[in-house]
Point group: C2
Chain length 762, copies 2
């Protein structure tokens, strides 16, 4: 169907574009409830404990930062330790075969943080199959355990977690995403995925882990032990919890990249949908403490306590010497941004096809596990196969900085492909970003870029915790290096440093995939320790984002859309100014009277399973669009609480029972389900009546019928509403607007060709 | 008067606390007008030119950044050049007296960027009066010219400009603040003030200059040449202009401190009242280009084009070697934060008393000029007097890094006080931040801190352009150094580096005066090039802000309050949840009928000079609180435009005339004044009628009578409204809420002692 405009513009509201709130995801209410019990409690709290709240808030933020930092250190430590055990085991296995194969075992173990002794014998490559299969088996076991944990114990722990956190901060509560169990599985799972040799990063998952820590700490409640402190009552509201989660997400980024300001901007740009002044320094506090704790732990491990070196889980190495770039280079950077946007869009489109395939055919739990293990095995075997089929040999011209591998090369030479395919992704990235010109043959780089693109694309989406930052950076650094080497060959005067192009390529590729600008710029500035790099990175990221956005959505938004969740964008398309509330709203509306028998509520709820209902008084005649005058709104949760606590309209001689602020506090956030409560109600209770007036929001925001959608959206979005009643000029309820209604309208901007193409193919 | 609360809390709405919108400042409307002509135009623009707008926006942002950078370079260059001319002149003057005095002339000239030859003769200090008076005369002349320019040509150019820009971004248009003339006077004035030896910085004014550049560029209109391009129509709205001004302000900070991300956060934290995602990268783009242009200009001046060194107008020097701090130091940093907060509050309180005195007694233009010149003379004479009365002599133990002055010391020694009192503030700051332990006697530092505190306090507020960042940093670095030196004497193992304490002191003092956290942390991280310093700076700034806020408001908010402007805070005090719209609103309201004779409009407007009026229909009986049902709102500006363009209700046989989108565009932003238009209307016109329906906003946001003030405020603040009608449950207009009504409620938090004390003294 389509809505006709005066000037003939058509808005598509096709069946495919009607996004529904995904499986079980629930909207959140950021508006303060206007219930007198809660209001009075809040006023009392404000009066008694201004400083108590301030101190508690800052203590919590510091605790969140420190715990995130400690968790990051722990993940780092565990990755190293488990990999070393794996290495010891494989070494023993190899000794059982033949001593000759020891070389291969060593080589194969290099990705797992161990230095490689250089061997002297030049050997052929085929007799290595037996230790290689053991190795593959071990990798697959790690992936298997990670997949079993994820699939059976906490499915919400799969993937990077950033899309879900983004949804949460946008006002959609994805079930189980902020549970402690999810976090534990995520932490263990990411260690196993990395040790299992998958092309994944630990950085995205750190954002999720930081968020869960923040959500847990801020509520001051351990349900399984029945612990709950009233001091935290102030923070048990969706809006407060959201702000803590923002800070936790930033702390995660800070620990991942050693970039506290980058973390803040990540939250502001990508995550937080609601920004205000205090949030900036709260978030900065958590992220600085997170980075500081990680750095402090590292100084302890290094045996030099209080000697701090910047850097997070991934460090780019210092770029202090890059203090110059010329006009030619800047032009190339813009072009690289465009390439990054194109490749990023291709990546997203392919991954989207694959994810849709997985959604359709990889549904059962065992299938998901098999999927993950197969990808793990394929990664190991493919990298192995590519490596032994290549011999990009160089003489040893530098020994100090990076590792090198002889593999199938003659004595005194080493294999460049080994440096890429065998090293851990983070080390390979460092090599690409810092090695001198002409360290790599373009053929090796090209094959490595193809390999990374392909493997990263099929890996993102399997049911283990896996981040996308490191694979994207690695991919970009590789093709950036290719461009750098080509330009160096062309004109060493104008393009003296291919490593710089590797960095810009990494930025372009990451920007093309995740579509961030400000936060990536700052993260890269902080991770490289060089403010002068801000300009080149920024002018790369702007075209990368815009070119990418022409073709597809970013990877996170794509996955959010695939999971059927509806994110409210920052701004609505400018053309929506021609639509008005009447076009957007859902009508007719189920309304409640001020006093109603439970029986009637039962029928209403089962016919209209909404989350909130307008309360009306006066004339009602639905045939003439009269639903009564709006005097309030009440949420299903609060009705359920009333029935559960038996707050019925008093019979003769009874006192009026009352809900207290503590009742509301105890019910948060796992409210009773209204349907369940009604199904459990006795017949006696069905005859009683409910008086909604004391517990309804007696002053809901409302909009008139002819307000333009742009302004309806502004109200809904900026105030974080969940339901918005539409009234006419006599204040008669005429309709209701929810997140779902606003998300129905998606204007396809000109040029979303690739995505459409692929969706047609699929 | 007071409002009684249920629980006995009293809200003071005393006469002093009733803030009125200051002299001529006007609220701005960030809401999109729901006028069909404008809506249709916007939809057409959106349809035709999405990419045109994107490209135009980015081009403008880059142009704003580059122009701000060039302006900063120009100011730097002019300061240096003018001071060198001044030096040459004074040297010639001194030759006319006696050759002996040459030494003093040289000494005196050092603040103005020239190196000092070291003299050998030890001489007494009194016969230097004659060249000193010439010197004082020259300084005073500079200040005189700056003051005359400011007072007679552009009074809005006085001060740092940050409070006014803050007001602008909050939604209060301070008259003339964004005019080109103001910017030119500001630029020239700040050069003269710095050359005139005042204790002022160029950094605050750069924020103002960046904002004016942004406001000018974004409107695509040169009124004095009658140039105006329709392409910029999209940006001629208060909300769009505000976003450009945010970017300009950030570009100013970026150029001032070489801190592009700091600029972005400055805008987010202190300036921008409305934040959304695109704003972050737009702002970052402008600020990175601004810093890059400055750095590029400097590389050209240094003769090494494209060789970039970070740093803005002020550079802190690199702190790369500070990679360690221990737990003792961290504790001291927190204490220093508290001291910074206390001293900052004292500074603000004293400056407030002085500013009130100036407001009351220094009113006429000549008086303002005399005030400025006297402060200039006093600064010169006092620094001179202190210097010759001190002899803090040290042997020459370092020659390479910083300048040193013999003055009244024996041969082979130099005077530490000279390094502080004679060097330019920026150089003195560098010395304090980098010199080795025990370079200064504590007595010298103490006297210098007192001098800086006193002079900076009396200087801020005179009628010349003057920034407060550098004086605050200098003051903090001085007392920070005192603490550092004392601790070093106490325990050189635990506190090895007094320079670190100077940096923390500078942060604490600046934080205590301006009360920012996130942006100052990032600015200092970027200006020192050391991410490891983030934690100490942050844990200093948090207590500095909170301690300061207990005692007084920040310096900018104080000056905003003194000028009678009412800033909407980010959040309303939590206790306001007990108030409702009925308590806050202004009532009765002047309302308009849908069609009204001009004569009636005339009477209404002269009795109720508001900026907008509700349009109503239906029953009206003010005695029973009935003003008619709300069907729209129309602003005085639009009524004026209707009368000016003669859009009257058609008489028989006439066609209905119409306003077009171009009419609205031409009128922005200097709308006709409704009063003037009415006074100029002829008698014939007085008999005609106006039909408001096509030009009113037919769907204004509205709130019910019993909505709590917290939620009313959220709506008003987050949507950037100017007028908010209050209705009852029948949609009858009952009152109106404006910025003024919301600002009347100021809850005095416990402990605002100092400020109250001083206001009582005065």
């Amino acid at each position: 169907m389509g809505f006709g405009f005066e000037d003939g513009v058509e808005v598509q509201v096709g069946a495919l574009l009607v996004l529904l709130t995904g499986a079980g995801a629930q909207g959140m209410e950021y508006d303060t409830p206007e219930v007198s019990a809660i209001k009075k409690d809040m006023a009392n709290l404000a009066h008694q404990g201004h400083w108590k709240v301030v101190i508690l808030r800052y203590t919590l933020l510091i605790a969140i930062g420190c715990t995130t930092g400690v968790t990051a250190s722990l993940i780092d430590f565990l990755t190293t330790t488990i990999c070393s055990i794996k290495f010891a085991f494989i070494q023993r296995c190899i000794l059982l075969f033949e001593l000759n194969w020891l070389k291969w075992a060593y080589l194969y173990s290099v990705p797992y943080y161990y230095e490689l002794p250089v061997f002297n014998a030049h050997s052929s490559s085929w007799p290595v199959l037996r230790p290689a299969s053991v190795w593959t088996l071990i990798n697959c076991s790690f992936v298997l355990v990670a997949a079993i944990l994820t699939v059976y114990s906490a499915p919400a722990a799969g993937g990077s977690g950033i899309p879900q956190i983004k949804c949460y901060l946008n006002g959609l509560n994805v079930p189980l995403i902020l549970r402690a169990r999810t976090m534990v599985v995520k932490g263990i799972g990411i260690v196993l995925s990395v040790c299992g040799g998958l092309v994944v990063g630990k950085e995205g998952p750190m954002v999720h882990i930081g968020s869960v820590i923040a959500a847990g700490f801020s509520q001051g409640r351990v349900r399984c032990f029945g612990l709950s402190s009233r001091c935290f009552r102030r923070f048990r509201r969706d809006a407060e919890k959201r702000d803590f989660v923002s800070a936790g997400a930033a702390a995660g980024v800070a620990a991942a990249f050693g970039a506290p300001v980058g973390g803040l901007l990540f939250t502001l740009e990508e995550g937080a949908s609601f920004i205000f002044q205090r949030l900036t320094w709260n978030t900065l506090l958590a992220s600085i403490f997170s980075m500081f704790t990680l750095v402090f732990s590292r100084s302890l491990i290094d045996g030099q306590p209080f000697k701090f070196t910047p850097g997070g889980l991934v460090s780019f190495g210092m770029f202090e010497n890059v203090t110059s770039y010329n006009a030619y280079e800047l032009m190339v950077f813009v072009l690289m941004g465009i390439i990054g946007g194109l490749l990023g869009a291709l990546f997203v489109a392919l991954n989207r096809v694959l994810s849709k395939y997985r959604q359709a055919y990889v549904k059962s739990q065992p299938a998901k596990i098999v999927d993950a293990v197969l990808i793990g095995a394929f990664t190991t075997v493919l990298s192995f196969a590519i490596l032994i089929s290549m011999s990009d040999c160089h003489s040893l011209f530098q020994k100090d900085t990076f590792e090198f591998h002889q593999i199938v090369c003659p004595n005194g030479e080493f294999n460049r492909a080994g440096t890429l395919f065998f090293a851990a992704p983070v080390k390979a990235l460092n090599v690409l970003l810092h090695d001198p010109p002409q360290s790599f043959s373009n053929y090796t780089l090209f094959v490595f870029a193809l390999y990374t693109f392909f493997i990263a694309c099929i890996t993102y989406g399997i049911s283990v915790p896996c981040g996308l930052f490191i694979p994207s950076l690695l991919l970009g650094a590789t093709w950036g290096r290719v461009i750098g080497e080509l330009l160096y060959t062309f004109s060493p005067q104008n393009f003296p440093d291919p490593a710089k192009f590797a960095l810009i390529g990494a930025a372009a590729q990451l920007g093309g995939i995740v579509r961030m600008i400000a936060s990536l710029t700052v993260v890269l500035m902080e991770a490289t320790g060089n403010v002068i790099l801000g300009l080149p990175v920024l002018i790369t990221l702007v075209p990368a984002k815009y070119v990418g956005d022409c073709l597809t959505e970013g990877i996170y938004d794509t996955h959010i859309a695939l999971s059927g969740m509806a994110l409210l964008p920052w701004e609505v398309n400018a053309r929506c100014i021609q639509l008005c509330a009447l076009d957007v709203m859902t009508s007719p509306v189920a309304v409640l009277d001020t006093v109603m028998p439970v029986r009637d509520v039962y029928h209403l709820v089962f016919n209209h399973p909404h989350h909130a209902f307008p309360v009306v008084e006066g004339d009602r005649d639905p045939n003439n669009f009269k639903y009564g005058r709006l005097i309030g709104m009440i949420s299903a949760q609060h009705i359920a609480l009333m029935i559960k606590k038996k707050i019925y309209y008093p019979l003769n001689g009874e006192d009026m029972p009352r809900l207290t602020a503590d009742d509301f506090d105890d019910a948060y956030p796992r409210f009773y389900k209204l349907k369940d409560v009604l199904l459990n109600a006795s017949d006696d209770e069905f005859d009683r009546s409910l008086d909604f007036r004391p517990y309804m929001n007696h002053a809901p925001y409302r909009v008139p019928l002819d307000m333009s959608m742009t302004r309806v959206f502004a109200l809904f979005r900026r105030l974080g509403l969940r339901h918005l009643p539409v009234v006419d000029n006599s204040n008669q309820v005429r309709g209701m607007i929810t997140r779902k209604d606003l998300c129905r309208f998606r204007f396809a901007p000109a040029g979303k060709v690739v995505e459409r193409l692929f969706s047609r193919i699929y």
